[in-house]
Symmetry: C2
Subunit: 326 residues, 2 copies
Protein backbone atom coordinates (compact mmCIF):
# COMPACT_ATOMS: atom_id res chain seq x y z
CA UNK A 1 0.00 0.00 0.00
CA UNK A 2 1.16 3.50 -0.87
CA UNK A 3 2.64 5.59 1.90
CA UNK A 4 3.13 9.28 2.46
CA UNK A 5 6.53 9.07 0.74
CA UNK A 6 5.00 7.75 -2.48
CA UNK A 7 2.47 10.55 -2.35
CA UNK A 8 5.19 13.17 -1.87
CA UNK A 9 7.24 11.66 -4.67
CA UNK A 10 4.37 11.56 -7.15
CA UNK A 11 3.28 15.07 -6.21
CA UNK A 12 6.86 16.20 -6.61
CA UNK A 13 7.00 17.73 -3.15
CA UNK A 14 8.71 16.91 0.13
CA UNK A 15 7.22 14.57 2.73
CA UNK A 16 7.17 17.53 5.12
CA UNK A 17 4.85 19.40 2.80
CA UNK A 18 2.40 16.49 2.58
CA UNK A 19 2.50 16.13 6.36
CA UNK A 20 1.97 19.91 6.75
CA UNK A 21 -1.12 19.64 4.64
CA UNK A 22 -2.47 16.52 6.32
CA UNK A 23 -1.93 18.04 9.71
CA UNK A 24 -3.00 21.50 8.66
CA UNK A 25 0.16 22.62 10.46
CA UNK A 26 1.44 25.21 8.07
CA UNK A 27 1.07 26.96 4.74
CA UNK A 28 0.73 24.84 1.64
CA UNK A 29 -0.12 26.59 -1.63
CA UNK A 30 -3.41 25.74 -3.30
CA UNK A 31 -1.51 24.46 -6.27
CA UNK A 32 0.57 22.11 -4.13
CA UNK A 33 -2.49 20.95 -2.21
CA UNK A 34 -4.09 20.06 -5.51
CA UNK A 35 -1.04 18.09 -6.62
CA UNK A 36 -0.87 16.22 -3.33
CA UNK A 37 -4.57 15.35 -3.44
CA UNK A 38 -4.29 14.16 -7.00
CA UNK A 39 -1.39 11.95 -5.96
CA UNK A 40 -3.28 10.60 -2.94
CA UNK A 41 -6.21 9.78 -5.19
CA UNK A 42 -4.03 8.26 -7.90
CA UNK A 43 -2.25 6.06 -5.36
CA UNK A 44 -5.50 5.39 -3.52
CA UNK A 45 -3.65 6.51 -0.40
CA UNK A 46 -5.65 6.41 2.84
CA UNK A 47 -4.17 8.93 5.25
CA UNK A 48 -4.85 9.07 8.94
CA UNK A 49 -8.40 10.13 9.74
CA UNK A 50 -7.14 13.61 10.48
CA UNK A 51 -6.84 14.33 6.82
CA UNK A 52 -10.33 13.17 6.11
CA UNK A 53 -11.89 15.77 8.32
CA UNK A 54 -9.23 18.33 7.62
CA UNK A 55 -11.36 20.83 5.80
CA UNK A 56 -14.55 19.88 7.49
CA UNK A 57 -14.35 20.10 11.22
CA UNK A 58 -17.64 18.29 11.64
CA UNK A 59 -18.23 14.56 11.40
CA UNK A 60 -21.83 14.53 12.60
CA UNK A 61 -20.90 11.72 14.94
CA UNK A 62 -21.03 11.70 18.74
CA UNK A 63 -19.20 9.07 20.74
CA UNK A 64 -21.06 7.61 23.68
CA UNK A 65 -18.95 5.81 26.26
CA UNK A 66 -20.61 3.32 28.58
CA UNK A 67 -19.19 0.42 30.61
CA UNK A 68 -21.30 -2.09 28.71
CA UNK A 69 -24.51 -1.63 26.82
CA UNK A 70 -25.97 -4.92 28.03
CA UNK A 71 -26.28 -3.38 31.48
CA UNK A 72 -29.98 -2.33 31.71
CA UNK A 73 -29.18 1.16 32.99
CA UNK A 74 -26.79 1.93 30.15
CA UNK A 75 -28.96 0.15 27.58
CA UNK A 76 -31.81 2.52 28.45
CA UNK A 77 -29.44 5.49 28.56
CA UNK A 78 -27.94 4.73 25.14
CA UNK A 79 -31.41 4.10 23.76
CA UNK A 80 -32.59 7.54 24.92
CA UNK A 81 -29.37 9.31 23.93
CA UNK A 82 -29.55 7.80 20.45
CA UNK A 83 -33.07 9.16 20.03
CA UNK A 84 -32.12 12.63 21.28
CA UNK A 85 -29.00 12.79 19.12
CA UNK A 86 -31.00 11.67 16.10
CA UNK A 87 -33.37 14.62 16.62
CA UNK A 88 -30.31 16.89 16.80
CA UNK A 89 -29.00 15.42 13.54
CA UNK A 90 -26.17 13.35 14.96
CA UNK A 91 -25.23 9.72 14.64
CA UNK A 92 -23.93 7.79 17.60
CA UNK A 93 -20.70 5.86 17.90
CA UNK A 94 -20.92 3.39 20.74
CA UNK A 95 -18.05 2.32 22.94
CA UNK A 96 -18.15 -0.27 25.71
CA UNK A 97 -15.28 0.76 27.94
CA UNK A 98 -15.32 -2.31 30.18
CA UNK A 99 -14.11 -4.46 27.32
CA UNK A 100 -11.08 -2.27 26.65
CA UNK A 101 -9.33 -0.12 29.22
CA UNK A 102 -7.61 1.89 26.49
CA UNK A 103 -10.91 2.72 24.80
CA UNK A 104 -11.61 5.88 26.77
CA UNK A 105 -8.28 7.49 25.89
CA UNK A 106 -8.68 6.32 22.32
CA UNK A 107 -12.02 8.11 21.99
CA UNK A 108 -10.64 11.31 23.47
CA UNK A 109 -8.07 11.06 20.71
CA UNK A 110 -10.81 10.62 18.08
CA UNK A 111 -12.34 13.81 19.43
CA UNK A 112 -9.07 15.67 19.08
CA UNK A 113 -8.77 14.41 15.54
CA UNK A 114 -12.26 15.52 14.50
CA UNK A 115 -13.48 11.97 13.94
CA UNK A 116 -16.25 12.68 16.41
CA UNK A 117 -17.75 16.06 17.21
CA UNK A 118 -18.31 15.33 20.85
CA UNK A 119 -18.33 12.77 23.62
CA UNK A 120 -20.90 11.78 26.19
CA UNK A 121 -18.87 10.05 28.87
CA UNK A 122 -21.37 7.72 30.52
CA UNK A 123 -18.43 6.14 32.26
CA UNK A 124 -14.99 7.50 32.91
CA UNK A 125 -12.02 6.11 34.75
CA UNK A 126 -9.31 8.40 33.41
CA UNK A 127 -7.86 11.16 35.53
CA UNK A 128 -9.59 14.50 35.47
CA UNK A 129 -6.35 15.93 34.05
CA UNK A 130 -6.73 13.82 30.90
CA UNK A 131 -9.98 15.61 30.24
CA UNK A 132 -9.01 19.12 31.25
CA UNK A 133 -6.33 18.98 28.53
CA UNK A 134 -9.04 18.77 25.92
CA UNK A 135 -11.01 21.90 25.11
CA UNK A 136 -13.66 20.15 23.08
CA UNK A 137 -17.32 19.19 23.49
CA UNK A 138 -17.55 16.64 26.28
CA UNK A 139 -20.38 15.99 28.70
CA UNK A 140 -19.89 13.72 31.67
CA UNK A 141 -22.39 11.55 33.45
CA UNK A 142 -22.19 11.42 37.24
CA UNK A 143 -18.58 12.52 37.39
CA UNK A 144 -16.86 15.86 37.80
CA UNK A 145 -14.20 16.19 35.09
CA UNK A 146 -13.21 19.81 35.60
CA UNK A 147 -14.42 23.39 35.10
CA UNK A 148 -14.83 23.02 31.35
CA UNK A 149 -16.93 19.91 31.28
CA UNK A 150 -20.68 19.98 31.99
CA UNK A 151 -21.85 17.16 34.17
CA UNK A 152 -25.30 15.59 34.17
CA UNK A 153 -26.12 13.88 37.39
CA UNK A 154 -28.89 12.96 39.77
CA UNK A 155 -29.28 14.16 43.33
CA UNK A 156 -27.87 10.86 44.58
CA UNK A 157 -27.65 12.19 48.10
CA UNK A 158 -31.41 12.63 47.98
CA UNK A 159 -31.68 9.17 46.41
CA UNK A 160 -29.80 7.62 49.29
CA UNK A 161 -31.97 9.53 51.76
CA UNK A 162 -35.20 8.42 50.07
CA UNK A 163 -34.09 4.80 50.25
CA UNK A 164 -33.09 5.11 53.91
CA UNK A 165 -36.40 6.77 54.81
CA UNK A 166 -38.43 4.01 53.18
CA UNK A 167 -36.58 1.24 55.02
CA UNK A 168 -36.85 3.17 58.30
CA UNK A 169 -40.58 3.73 57.76
CA UNK A 170 -40.81 0.00 57.17
CA UNK A 171 -39.30 -0.58 60.59
CA UNK A 172 -36.12 -2.31 59.43
CA UNK A 173 -33.56 -2.88 62.19
CA UNK A 174 -30.75 -4.77 60.43
CA UNK A 175 -29.95 -3.67 56.92
CA UNK A 176 -27.81 -5.24 54.23
CA UNK A 177 -26.20 -2.39 52.30
CA UNK A 178 -24.51 -3.20 48.99
CA UNK A 179 -22.12 -0.35 48.31
CA UNK A 180 -20.67 0.16 44.87
CA UNK A 181 -17.14 1.44 44.85
CA UNK A 182 -15.19 3.01 42.02
CA UNK A 183 -11.57 3.60 41.18
CA UNK A 184 -12.42 7.25 40.60
CA UNK A 185 -14.70 9.29 42.81
CA UNK A 186 -18.10 9.43 41.23
CA UNK A 187 -21.07 11.56 42.30
CA UNK A 188 -23.02 8.33 41.99
CA UNK A 189 -21.61 7.21 45.33
CA UNK A 190 -23.13 10.00 47.39
CA UNK A 191 -26.17 7.78 47.77
CA UNK A 192 -24.18 5.24 49.77
CA UNK A 193 -22.59 7.81 52.04
CA UNK A 194 -25.94 9.46 52.73
CA UNK A 195 -27.73 6.15 53.23
CA UNK A 196 -25.07 4.95 55.66
CA UNK A 197 -24.96 8.28 57.50
CA UNK A 198 -28.69 8.18 58.17
CA UNK A 199 -28.56 4.56 59.32
CA UNK A 200 -25.69 5.33 61.68
CA UNK A 201 -27.53 8.36 63.05
CA UNK A 202 -30.58 6.21 63.66
CA UNK A 203 -28.46 3.52 65.29
CA UNK A 204 -29.56 0.95 62.74
CA UNK A 205 -27.29 -2.05 62.35
CA UNK A 206 -25.94 -2.37 58.81
CA UNK A 207 -23.91 -5.01 57.03
CA UNK A 208 -21.94 -3.27 54.30
CA UNK A 209 -20.83 -5.22 51.27
CA UNK A 210 -18.39 -3.37 49.02
CA UNK A 211 -18.75 -4.30 45.38
CA UNK A 212 -16.05 -4.45 42.74
CA UNK A 213 -16.78 -1.48 40.44
CA UNK A 214 -15.23 -3.36 37.51
CA UNK A 215 -17.90 -6.05 37.64
CA UNK A 216 -21.31 -5.18 36.25
CA UNK A 217 -22.10 -8.64 34.94
CA UNK A 218 -25.04 -10.64 36.19
CA UNK A 219 -22.83 -13.61 37.13
CA UNK A 220 -21.05 -11.40 39.64
CA UNK A 221 -24.29 -10.11 41.17
CA UNK A 222 -25.62 -13.65 41.37
CA UNK A 223 -22.47 -14.85 43.11
CA UNK A 224 -22.48 -11.93 45.55
CA UNK A 225 -26.13 -12.57 46.45
CA UNK A 226 -25.48 -16.29 46.92
CA UNK A 227 -22.49 -15.53 49.12
CA UNK A 228 -24.51 -13.21 51.35
CA UNK A 229 -27.50 -15.54 51.58
CA UNK A 230 -25.29 -18.49 52.53
CA UNK A 231 -23.80 -16.48 55.39
CA UNK A 232 -27.29 -16.56 56.90
CA UNK A 233 -26.92 -13.01 58.12
CA UNK A 234 -30.00 -11.86 59.98
CA UNK A 235 -31.23 -8.86 58.03
CA UNK A 236 -34.72 -7.44 57.50
CA UNK A 237 -33.84 -4.81 54.92
CA UNK A 238 -31.78 -4.61 51.73
CA UNK A 239 -30.47 -1.66 49.73
CA UNK A 240 -28.52 -2.12 46.52
CA UNK A 241 -28.50 -1.64 42.77
CA UNK A 242 -31.40 -3.19 40.81
CA UNK A 243 -29.85 -6.45 39.71
CA UNK A 244 -28.30 -7.15 43.06
CA UNK A 245 -31.56 -6.42 44.86
CA UNK A 246 -33.29 -8.83 42.49
CA UNK A 247 -30.69 -11.58 42.93
CA UNK A 248 -30.96 -11.10 46.67
CA UNK A 249 -34.76 -11.33 46.58
CA UNK A 250 -34.59 -14.52 44.53
CA UNK A 251 -32.20 -16.08 47.01
CA UNK A 252 -34.56 -15.19 49.86
CA UNK A 253 -37.57 -16.57 47.98
CA UNK A 254 -35.67 -19.83 47.48
CA UNK A 255 -35.22 -19.87 51.26
CA UNK A 256 -39.02 -19.44 51.52
CA UNK A 257 -38.60 -16.04 53.16
CA UNK A 258 -41.68 -13.86 52.83
CA UNK A 259 -41.21 -10.63 50.85
CA UNK A 260 -41.99 -8.01 52.09
CA UNK A 261 -43.21 -9.43 55.41
CA UNK A 262 -39.83 -10.76 56.58
CA UNK A 263 -37.43 -8.75 54.43
CA UNK A 264 -37.96 -5.35 52.79
CA UNK A 265 -36.00 -4.46 49.68
CA UNK A 266 -35.29 -1.10 48.05
CA UNK A 267 -33.16 -0.98 44.92
CA UNK A 268 -31.36 1.86 43.17
CA UNK A 269 -31.70 2.85 39.49
CA UNK A 270 -35.24 1.69 38.80
CA UNK A 271 -34.49 0.18 35.42
CA UNK A 272 -37.14 -1.95 33.70
CA UNK A 273 -35.89 -5.15 35.31
CA UNK A 274 -37.33 -4.01 38.65
CA UNK A 275 -40.76 -4.28 37.00
CA UNK A 276 -39.95 -7.62 35.44
CA UNK A 277 -39.85 -9.61 38.65
CA UNK A 278 -42.62 -10.68 41.01
CA UNK A 279 -43.03 -8.93 43.36
CA UNK A 280 -41.83 -5.81 41.59
CA UNK A 281 -38.98 -4.10 43.42
CA UNK A 282 -39.55 -0.88 45.36
CA UNK A 283 -36.88 1.35 43.92
CA UNK A 284 -35.25 4.75 43.70
CA UNK A 285 -35.74 5.66 40.05
CA UNK A 286 -33.10 7.60 38.17
CA UNK A 287 -34.72 9.68 35.38
CA UNK A 288 -32.67 8.06 32.61
CA UNK A 289 -34.61 9.74 29.81
CA UNK A 290 -34.08 13.17 31.35
CA UNK A 291 -30.39 12.41 31.88
CA UNK A 292 -30.11 11.59 28.18
CA UNK A 293 -31.96 14.76 27.19
CA UNK A 294 -29.79 16.97 29.38
CA UNK A 295 -26.58 15.33 28.19
CA UNK A 296 -27.45 15.88 24.55
CA UNK A 297 -28.71 19.40 25.20
CA UNK A 298 -25.49 20.48 26.92
CA UNK A 299 -23.35 18.75 24.31
CA UNK A 300 -25.15 20.49 21.45
CA UNK A 301 -24.66 23.85 23.17
CA UNK A 302 -20.93 23.15 23.37
CA UNK A 303 -20.75 22.00 19.76
CA UNK A 304 -22.58 25.10 18.59
CA UNK A 305 -20.12 27.20 20.53
CA UNK A 306 -22.81 28.46 22.85
CA UNK A 307 -22.25 29.06 26.50
CA UNK A 308 -23.59 26.05 28.40
CA UNK A 309 -26.39 27.39 30.57
CA UNK A 310 -26.16 24.54 33.00
CA UNK A 311 -22.65 23.36 33.89
CA UNK A 312 -24.15 20.96 36.37
CA UNK A 313 -27.60 19.52 35.72
CA UNK A 314 -28.83 17.81 38.82
CA UNK A 315 -31.93 15.74 38.23
CA UNK A 316 -34.30 14.48 40.86
CA UNK A 317 -34.69 10.78 41.68
CA UNK A 318 -38.04 9.39 42.75
CA UNK A 319 -39.19 6.52 44.90
CA UNK A 320 -41.43 4.05 43.09
CA UNK A 321 -43.19 1.64 45.39
CA UNK A 322 -43.21 -1.99 44.35
CA UNK A 323 -44.14 -5.10 46.31
CA UNK A 324 -40.93 -5.34 48.34
CA UNK A 325 -41.88 -2.68 50.88
CA UNK A 326 -45.12 -1.93 52.73
Amino acid sequence: MAGIKDVAKMAGVGVGTVSRMLNDSGYVSLDTRAKIEAAMKELNYTPNELARNLYYKKSGIIAVLVPNVSNPFFAEFVDCVEGELRKAGFKIMLCNTLKDVKAEAEYLDLLNRHIVDGIIAGMSSLDESEYSKIHKPIVALDRYLGEEIPVVTVDHKMGGRLAAEVLLRNGCKRILHFRSTAEKESLYHDRHAEFQKIMDEQGIETYCYDLDWRRLDIQYYHQVAEEVIEKNLKFDGVFGVDRLAIECMNGLIRQHKKIPEEVKIVSYDGTYITELVEPQISTIVQPIDRMAEESVKSLCELINGKKVKNKKSILIPEFRKGGTTV
Copy 2:
Protein backbone atom coordinates in the same frame (compact mmCIF):
# COMPACT_ATOMS: atom_id res chain seq x y z
CA MET B 1 -24.32 29.19 7.21
CA ALA B 2 -22.56 29.14 3.86
CA GLY B 3 -24.10 27.02 1.12
CA ILE B 4 -22.78 25.48 -2.06
CA LYS B 5 -23.68 28.66 -3.97
CA ASP B 6 -21.45 30.78 -1.73
CA VAL B 7 -18.65 28.32 -2.26
CA ALA B 8 -19.12 28.40 -6.03
CA LYS B 9 -19.24 32.19 -6.00
CA MET B 10 -16.11 32.63 -3.91
CA ALA B 11 -14.25 30.03 -5.96
CA GLY B 12 -15.41 31.79 -9.10
CA VAL B 13 -16.87 28.63 -10.60
CA GLY B 14 -20.37 27.35 -11.31
CA VAL B 15 -22.44 25.44 -8.74
CA GLY B 16 -22.38 22.50 -11.11
CA THR B 17 -18.61 22.37 -10.89
CA VAL B 18 -18.66 22.29 -7.10
CA SER B 19 -21.30 19.61 -7.16
CA ARG B 20 -19.28 17.63 -9.73
CA MET B 21 -16.34 17.72 -7.40
CA LEU B 22 -18.31 16.87 -4.26
CA ASN B 23 -19.99 14.00 -6.01
CA ASP B 24 -16.91 12.94 -7.90
CA SER B 25 -19.26 12.84 -10.89
CA GLY B 26 -17.09 14.37 -13.53
CA TYR B 27 -13.81 16.01 -14.40
CA VAL B 28 -12.73 19.00 -12.32
CA SER B 29 -9.25 20.41 -12.90
CA LEU B 30 -6.77 20.26 -10.04
CA ASP B 31 -6.60 24.00 -10.06
CA THR B 32 -10.36 24.37 -9.77
CA ARG B 33 -10.49 21.70 -7.05
CA ALA B 34 -7.97 23.71 -5.09
CA LYS B 35 -9.98 26.93 -5.47
CA ILE B 36 -13.17 25.18 -4.40
CA GLU B 37 -11.52 23.61 -1.37
CA ALA B 38 -9.99 26.93 -0.39
CA ALA B 39 -13.45 28.52 -0.64
CA MET B 40 -15.02 25.72 1.41
CA LYS B 41 -12.37 26.22 4.06
CA GLU B 42 -12.68 29.98 4.01
CA LEU B 43 -16.45 29.81 4.36
CA ASN B 44 -16.16 26.96 6.84
CA TYR B 45 -18.58 25.14 4.60
CA THR B 46 -19.57 21.63 5.67
CA PRO B 47 -20.46 19.65 2.57
CA ASN B 48 -22.46 16.47 2.55
CA GLU B 49 -20.51 13.58 4.03
CA LEU B 50 -19.84 12.32 0.54
CA ALA B 51 -17.10 14.86 0.04
CA ARG B 52 -15.40 13.96 3.27
CA ASN B 53 -14.77 10.40 2.22
CA LEU B 54 -14.38 11.23 -1.40
CA TYR B 55 -10.72 10.39 -1.66
CA TYR B 56 -10.67 7.82 1.08
CA LYS B 57 -13.11 5.01 0.56
CA LYS B 58 -12.78 3.68 4.10
CA SER B 59 -14.26 5.13 7.26
CA GLY B 60 -13.46 2.31 9.69
CA ILE B 61 -17.04 2.47 10.89
CA ILE B 62 -19.67 -0.26 10.75
CA ALA B 63 -23.35 0.55 11.17
CA VAL B 64 -25.35 -1.83 13.32
CA LEU B 65 -29.12 -1.66 12.90
CA VAL B 66 -31.33 -2.99 15.67
CA PRO B 67 -34.97 -2.30 16.55
CA ASN B 68 -34.00 -0.89 19.94
CA VAL B 69 -30.93 -1.49 22.03
CA SER B 70 -32.88 -1.57 25.30
CA ASN B 71 -34.35 -4.89 24.21
CA PRO B 72 -32.26 -7.52 26.06
CA PHE B 73 -31.66 -9.64 22.96
CA PHE B 74 -30.33 -6.74 20.93
CA ALA B 75 -28.47 -5.26 23.88
CA GLU B 76 -26.51 -8.50 24.18
CA PHE B 77 -26.10 -8.72 20.41
CA VAL B 78 -24.77 -5.15 20.11
CA ASP B 79 -22.52 -5.75 23.11
CA CYS B 80 -20.96 -8.81 21.46
CA VAL B 81 -20.80 -7.23 17.99
CA GLU B 82 -19.05 -4.18 19.41
CA GLY B 83 -16.42 -6.39 21.00
CA GLU B 84 -15.88 -8.40 17.80
CA LEU B 85 -15.70 -5.29 15.61
CA ARG B 86 -13.24 -3.71 18.03
CA LYS B 87 -10.94 -6.72 17.59
CA ALA B 88 -11.27 -6.30 13.83
CA GLY B 89 -10.34 -2.61 14.13
CA PHE B 90 -13.76 -1.12 13.48
CA LYS B 91 -15.90 1.31 15.37
CA ILE B 92 -19.62 0.84 15.63
CA MET B 93 -22.35 3.25 14.68
CA LEU B 94 -25.58 2.30 16.37
CA CYS B 95 -29.04 2.81 14.94
CA ASN B 96 -32.34 2.03 16.65
CA THR B 97 -34.69 1.51 13.73
CA LEU B 98 -37.89 1.38 15.76
CA LYS B 99 -37.56 5.05 16.61
CA ASP B 100 -37.34 6.10 12.98
CA VAL B 101 -38.82 4.20 10.05
CA LYS B 102 -36.60 6.08 7.61
CA ALA B 103 -33.44 5.13 9.48
CA GLU B 104 -32.83 1.88 7.62
CA ALA B 105 -32.89 3.50 4.20
CA GLU B 106 -30.80 6.35 5.55
CA TYR B 107 -28.06 3.95 6.67
CA LEU B 108 -28.06 2.14 3.34
CA ASP B 109 -27.42 5.57 1.88
CA LEU B 110 -24.54 6.15 4.31
CA LEU B 111 -23.07 2.90 3.06
CA ASN B 112 -23.36 3.99 -0.55
CA ARG B 113 -21.68 7.24 0.35
CA HIS B 114 -18.72 5.61 2.13
CA ILE B 115 -19.65 7.02 5.52
CA VAL B 116 -19.73 3.47 6.83
CA ASP B 117 -17.79 0.52 5.47
CA GLY B 118 -20.49 -2.00 6.13
CA ILE B 119 -23.82 -2.74 7.76
CA ILE B 120 -24.97 -5.46 10.10
CA ALA B 121 -28.73 -5.45 9.69
CA GLY B 122 -29.99 -6.83 12.99
CA MET B 123 -33.43 -5.73 11.90
CA SER B 124 -34.73 -5.01 8.47
CA SER B 125 -38.15 -4.07 7.21
CA LEU B 126 -37.24 -2.76 3.77
CA ASP B 127 -37.93 -4.76 0.64
CA GLU B 128 -35.30 -7.22 -0.48
CA SER B 129 -35.04 -5.15 -3.67
CA GLU B 130 -33.75 -2.16 -1.70
CA TYR B 131 -30.81 -4.27 -0.60
CA SER B 132 -30.12 -6.13 -3.82
CA LYS B 133 -29.50 -2.73 -5.45
CA ILE B 134 -26.51 -2.25 -3.18
CA HIS B 135 -23.36 -4.22 -3.93
CA LYS B 136 -21.63 -3.37 -0.69
CA PRO B 137 -20.74 -5.15 2.56
CA ILE B 138 -23.99 -6.03 4.32
CA VAL B 139 -24.75 -8.93 6.62
CA ALA B 140 -28.30 -9.68 7.65
CA LEU B 141 -29.57 -11.25 10.83
CA ASP B 142 -32.42 -13.73 10.51
CA ARG B 143 -33.59 -12.43 7.17
CA TYR B 144 -32.89 -13.37 3.57
CA LEU B 145 -32.01 -10.21 1.64
CA GLY B 146 -30.90 -11.77 -1.64
CA GLU B 147 -28.07 -13.72 -3.22
CA GLU B 148 -25.41 -11.17 -2.44
CA ILE B 149 -26.07 -10.76 1.25
CA PRO B 150 -24.81 -13.28 3.80
CA VAL B 151 -27.33 -14.11 6.48
CA VAL B 152 -26.58 -15.21 10.02
CA THR B 153 -29.41 -17.09 11.58
CA VAL B 154 -30.31 -19.80 14.01
CA ASP B 155 -32.03 -23.07 13.21
CA HIS B 156 -35.33 -21.63 14.43
CA LYS B 157 -37.24 -24.62 13.11
CA MET B 158 -35.18 -26.74 15.47
CA GLY B 159 -35.80 -24.15 18.20
CA GLY B 160 -39.54 -24.44 17.74
CA ARG B 161 -39.29 -28.21 17.77
CA LEU B 162 -37.20 -28.24 20.95
CA ALA B 163 -39.78 -26.05 22.70
CA ALA B 164 -42.64 -28.22 21.51
CA GLU B 165 -40.92 -31.42 22.63
CA VAL B 166 -40.30 -30.04 26.12
CA LEU B 167 -43.93 -29.02 26.61
CA LEU B 168 -45.11 -32.36 25.23
CA ARG B 169 -42.74 -34.26 27.53
CA ASN B 170 -44.20 -32.19 30.35
CA GLY B 171 -47.64 -33.52 29.42
CA CYS B 172 -49.18 -30.17 28.45
CA LYS B 173 -52.61 -30.45 26.83
CA ARG B 174 -53.66 -26.82 26.30
CA ILE B 175 -50.93 -24.46 25.21
CA LEU B 176 -50.82 -20.71 24.97
CA HIS B 177 -48.66 -19.85 21.97
CA PHE B 178 -47.50 -16.25 21.57
CA ARG B 179 -46.58 -15.84 17.93
CA SER B 180 -44.54 -12.90 16.77
CA THR B 181 -45.45 -11.62 13.36
CA ALA B 182 -43.47 -9.34 11.09
CA GLU B 183 -44.22 -7.08 8.17
CA LYS B 184 -41.50 -8.89 6.24
CA GLU B 185 -40.96 -12.62 6.29
CA SER B 186 -38.19 -13.41 8.72
CA LEU B 187 -36.45 -16.74 9.28
CA TYR B 188 -37.07 -16.02 12.93
CA HIS B 189 -40.68 -17.08 12.47
CA ASP B 190 -39.96 -20.65 11.47
CA ARG B 191 -40.01 -21.50 15.15
CA HIS B 192 -43.71 -20.62 15.38
CA ALA B 193 -44.67 -22.59 12.29
CA GLU B 194 -42.75 -25.64 13.48
CA PHE B 195 -44.05 -25.37 17.03
CA GLN B 196 -47.64 -25.07 15.80
CA LYS B 197 -47.22 -27.87 13.28
CA ILE B 198 -46.06 -30.29 15.94
CA MET B 199 -48.87 -29.32 18.30
CA ASP B 200 -51.43 -29.79 15.56
CA GLU B 201 -49.96 -33.18 14.63
CA GLN B 202 -50.16 -34.22 18.27
CA GLY B 203 -53.72 -32.96 18.52
CA ILE B 204 -52.78 -30.53 21.28
CA GLU B 205 -55.13 -27.62 21.81
CA THR B 206 -53.40 -24.26 21.31
CA TYR B 207 -54.47 -20.67 21.84
CA CYS B 208 -52.48 -18.54 19.42
CA TYR B 209 -51.88 -14.90 20.20
CA ASP B 210 -50.40 -12.91 17.33
CA LEU B 211 -48.15 -10.11 18.51
CA ASP B 212 -47.59 -6.75 16.89
CA TRP B 213 -44.04 -6.92 15.49
CA ARG B 214 -43.67 -3.15 15.90
CA ARG B 215 -43.98 -3.41 19.68
CA LEU B 216 -40.99 -4.69 21.59
CA ASP B 217 -41.52 -2.55 24.67
CA ILE B 218 -42.13 -4.04 28.06
CA GLN B 219 -45.40 -2.13 28.51
CA TYR B 220 -46.80 -3.95 25.51
CA TYR B 221 -45.74 -7.38 26.80
CA HIS B 222 -47.15 -6.54 30.21
CA GLN B 223 -50.47 -5.50 28.68
CA VAL B 224 -50.66 -8.61 26.49
CA ALA B 225 -49.97 -10.88 29.46
CA GLU B 226 -52.58 -9.08 31.57
CA GLU B 227 -55.11 -9.40 28.75
CA VAL B 228 -54.53 -13.13 28.41
CA ILE B 229 -54.57 -13.79 32.15
CA GLU B 230 -57.84 -11.86 32.58
CA LYS B 231 -59.48 -14.01 29.89
CA ASN B 232 -59.01 -16.90 32.32
CA LEU B 233 -58.15 -19.26 29.50
CA LYS B 234 -57.47 -22.74 30.74
CA PHE B 235 -53.91 -23.48 29.66
CA ASP B 236 -51.20 -25.64 31.18
CA GLY B 237 -48.35 -24.62 28.89
CA VAL B 238 -46.90 -21.38 27.52
CA PHE B 239 -44.50 -20.69 24.67
CA GLY B 240 -43.35 -17.17 23.84
CA VAL B 241 -40.44 -14.77 23.75
CA ASP B 242 -38.52 -14.22 27.03
CA ARG B 243 -40.21 -11.07 28.27
CA LEU B 244 -43.67 -12.26 27.43
CA ALA B 245 -43.08 -15.60 29.12
CA ILE B 246 -41.89 -13.73 32.21
CA GLU B 247 -44.85 -11.35 32.25
CA CYS B 248 -47.13 -14.33 31.83
CA MET B 249 -45.48 -16.20 34.71
CA ASN B 250 -45.80 -13.16 36.96
CA GLY B 251 -49.48 -12.87 36.18
CA LEU B 252 -49.95 -16.53 37.03
CA ILE B 253 -47.98 -16.20 40.27
CA ARG B 254 -50.23 -13.27 41.23
CA GLN B 255 -53.15 -15.66 40.68
CA HIS B 256 -51.39 -18.07 43.06
CA LYS B 257 -50.95 -20.62 40.26
CA LYS B 258 -48.12 -23.06 40.94
CA ILE B 259 -45.20 -22.96 38.47
CA PRO B 260 -44.32 -25.50 37.10
CA GLU B 261 -46.91 -27.80 38.75
CA GLU B 262 -49.99 -26.17 37.21
CA VAL B 263 -48.47 -24.34 34.23
CA LYS B 264 -45.24 -25.08 32.35
CA ILE B 265 -43.43 -22.28 30.57
CA VAL B 266 -40.79 -22.34 27.83
CA SER B 267 -39.48 -19.08 26.45
CA TYR B 268 -37.52 -18.25 23.31
CA ASP B 269 -34.23 -16.31 23.11
CA GLY B 270 -32.75 -17.20 26.50
CA THR B 271 -31.48 -13.71 27.25
CA TYR B 272 -30.20 -12.92 30.75
CA ILE B 273 -33.64 -11.86 31.98
CA THR B 274 -34.73 -15.50 31.98
CA GLU B 275 -32.14 -16.06 34.72
CA LEU B 276 -33.18 -12.95 36.60
CA VAL B 277 -36.59 -14.20 37.68
CA GLU B 278 -37.59 -16.82 40.24
CA PRO B 279 -38.11 -19.52 39.15
CA GLN B 280 -35.73 -19.13 36.23
CA ILE B 281 -37.42 -19.68 32.89
CA SER B 282 -36.83 -22.87 30.90
CA THR B 283 -35.82 -21.49 27.54
CA ILE B 284 -34.58 -22.07 24.01
CA VAL B 285 -31.28 -20.21 23.98
CA GLN B 286 -30.10 -18.40 20.89
CA PRO B 287 -26.29 -18.28 20.76
CA ILE B 288 -26.12 -14.49 20.64
CA ASP B 289 -22.33 -14.35 21.01
CA ARG B 290 -21.84 -16.78 18.12
CA MET B 291 -24.32 -14.82 16.00
CA ALA B 292 -22.26 -11.70 16.64
CA GLU B 293 -19.00 -13.50 15.79
CA GLU B 294 -20.38 -14.91 12.55
CA SER B 295 -21.89 -11.58 11.50
CA VAL B 296 -18.61 -9.75 11.99
CA LYS B 297 -16.61 -12.54 10.36
CA SER B 298 -18.74 -12.52 7.20
CA LEU B 299 -18.80 -8.73 7.08
CA CYS B 300 -15.01 -8.51 7.33
CA GLU B 301 -14.67 -11.04 4.51
CA LEU B 302 -16.90 -8.85 2.33
CA ILE B 303 -15.03 -5.68 3.26
CA ASN B 304 -11.70 -7.31 2.46
CA GLY B 305 -13.08 -8.34 -0.89
CA LYS B 306 -12.81 -12.01 -0.02
CA LYS B 307 -15.35 -14.56 -1.08
CA VAL B 308 -17.69 -15.20 1.84
CA LYS B 309 -17.23 -18.84 2.76
CA ASN B 310 -20.57 -19.07 4.42
CA LYS B 311 -23.44 -17.27 2.70
CA LYS B 312 -25.82 -18.68 5.27
CA SER B 313 -24.52 -19.38 8.78
CA ILE B 314 -27.09 -21.39 10.64
CA LEU B 315 -26.34 -21.67 14.34
CA ILE B 316 -27.80 -24.19 16.72
CA PRO B 317 -30.20 -23.22 19.54
CA GLU B 318 -30.16 -25.10 22.82
CA PHE B 319 -32.69 -25.87 25.49
CA ARG B 320 -31.70 -24.61 28.95
CA LYS B 321 -33.83 -26.04 31.73
CA GLY B 322 -35.02 -23.61 34.35
CA GLY B 323 -37.67 -23.97 37.04
CA THR B 324 -40.70 -23.55 34.78
CA THR B 325 -40.67 -27.10 33.42
CA VAL B 326 -40.12 -30.48 35.05
